[in-house]
């Protein structure tokens, strides 16, 4: 079976989690990345779910939502949202995952609305959820999203989740205590934010700098040592496919 973009993204996302870290885990790919990390290099990582669940072992079966009953069984703590968001605000959460409909080169994300004005948008999106809080307060933000020109934009229509804002020290000046995107993982490649602006550090197998540039809405910056994204190892693929055997999240058409 060929490796899917979803699987490459999950493998890369898993690499971003370090052992013993506390991680705000989202659903879909981030959850699977957390499972991969736990079962490979980060066995003592701890997962936080914003509705109030803390787990040091991932749920044994695939979840559709974080409130699914298997995600509660075996949890070490069932808390309130405010408890976990409070620990996040205290700086006790090293990493958080979020996705978005749109992102700009400074890592600002929009999950609120596209086009029109806020009271009458062209496309109404679901909103922040915990995304804006994780983006504001986690020590490190890991962003995962599908890659196309309408999503990686020069300017997003609405900053739901603050990245580096206008760049430079704008994030600090706005009053945010820490954090900002450390990586953007898309269906085509991987970006880092060395000075608060996205730089392509790798393109996935089958892609190139050119194909990434063609699908990116801002003027692409490319790292000197850009290279192909490391594909998932056989071990990692086994974990991914064991957890999501039907490819509901990792092999779906985005």
């Amino acid at each position: 079976m060929e490796v899917s973009p979803g699987e490459i993204m999950v493998a890369q996302a898993a690499r971003e989690i370090r052992d013993r870290e506390r991680v705000f885990v989202g659903m879909r790919l981030p959850l699977i990345a957390f499972v991969v990390a736990k079962r490979t290099h980060a066995p003592r990582a701890v997962g936080l779910f914003e509705l109030g669940i803390v787990r040091d072992e991932p749920a044994p079966e695939l979840l559709y939502t974080m409130g699914d009953t298997p995600n509660v069984s075996g949890a070490v703590w069932c808390a309130r949202t405010i408890d976990l968001m409070g620990l996040l605000q205290r700086g006790e959460v090293e990493a958080g995952f979020i996705g978005g409909a749109e992102i700009d080169a400074h890592g600002n994300l929009n999950t609120t609305a596209v086009g029109g004005d806020r009271s009458r948008p062209k496309v109404q999106l679901p909103g922040s959820g915990g995304g804006a809080d994780i983006a504001s307060l986690a020590q490190r933000l890991i962003v995962i999203m599908p890659h196309d020109k309408r999503r990686l934009r020069e300017r997003v229509d609405f900053i739901t989740s603050p990245g580096y804002l206008a760049g430079g020290d704008a994030r600090r000046r706005a009053g945010l205590p820490r954090g900002g995107p450390s990586v953007l993982i898309t269906t085509l490649g991987v970006f880092r934010f060395p000075d608060g602006e996205a730089v392509l550090v790798s393109y996935h197998p089958g892609q190139s700098v050119g194909s990434v540039r063609a699908a990116t809405g801002w003027e692409l910056r490319v790292a000197d040592d850009v290279r192909e994204t490391e594909p998932p190892s056989a071990d990692v693929l086994r974990v991914i496919r064991g957890y999501d055997p039907e490819g509901f999240w990792t092999r779906r058409a985005e």
């Binding site: 559709y64 679901p126 909103g127 959820g129 809080d133 603050p162």
Partner: protein
């Protein structure tokens, strides 16, 4: 569904969608096209809404936070204020209290007075209940008082706030209730498919809401599907009081 039926004028929420399925069609139609009516929205994040309810719950006028500084949410929300902390001059965002008229809580068990036990993730349930002027409890099971007082740490809010206790097994369907029943993923997906159009939504409501006399009939209509969702759960190791 309330939005799709035209019962909502304004929404204060961090997230509105069909988890695992996609965007919420009724919400989109209302916001994008004003169908069936225009609604206004006050954007929140999970933390800001939790803080607004916490402030309401403890009677504080507001709670200061560092979250959302630099986000467009404060501007869109319109009720927050930026300020300087008088302690160190640092920038804070003040989230004013929300005091709902009513909070609706679905719980596993409650007694007739409204003392309710909820387990599983509490989310913002407790803050919402304490902040609200009154609470409606949907209990999967109404139990004798002694079952509640056997474990008072599990009580979620005081009975004096509870205006009504309704025994409604399966009240959360298609969402889950820990230890009672799992999530009906396919029901969410089917709802998503069928409500793509306003006509489809009306059709769905005609079948599942107005088309069933009460919740018993709704569950009977689910039939075996409902039976298959039921879970026995694993009993907790008791705490001795």
């Amino acid at each position: 569904m309330l939005i799709g039926s035209g019962c909502v004028r304004s929404v204060s929420a961090a997230w509105v969608g069909n988890v695992s399925a996609g965007l919420a069609h009724c919400y989109r139609r209302a916001m994008e096209e004003g169908v069936p009516r225009r609604i206004t929205v006050r954007d929140h994040s999970n933390f800001s809404i939790a803080q607004a309810l916490l402030a309401g719950a403890i009677g504080a006028p507001y709670i200061p936070t560092r979250s959302l500084l630099g986000s467009d949410i404060p501007r869109a929300n319109g009720t927050f204020r930026e300020a300087e902390s008088p302690f160190d001059g640092s920038r804070v965002l003040l989230i004013p209290a929300i005091v709902p008229d009513v909070a609706v809580l679905a719980v596993q068990r409650a007694d007739e007075d409204g003392n309710a036990h909820l387990w599983g993730p509490w989310g913002v349930s407790q803050e919402a209940a304490l902040a609200a002027k009154k609470v409606i409890v949907l209990a999967d099971e109404v139990v004798p008082r002694e079952e509640i007082t056997s474990d008072p740490n599990r009580t979620i809010c005081p009975a004096w706030k509870v205006a009504a206790v309704c025994e409604v097994p399966g009240a959360c369907h298609p969402s889950p209730l820990q230890g009672r029943y799992g999530r009906d993923h396919e029901f969410f997906h089917e709802y998503h498919r069928r409500t793509r159009t306003a006509e489809g939504f009306d059709d769905w409501v005609g079948e599942w809401v107005t088309g069933t006399r009460d919740h018993d009939e709704y569950l009977a209509k689910l039939g075996r599907r409902w039976e298959e969702l039921r879970e026995d759960g694993v009993p907790s190791v008791p705490a001795a009081y």
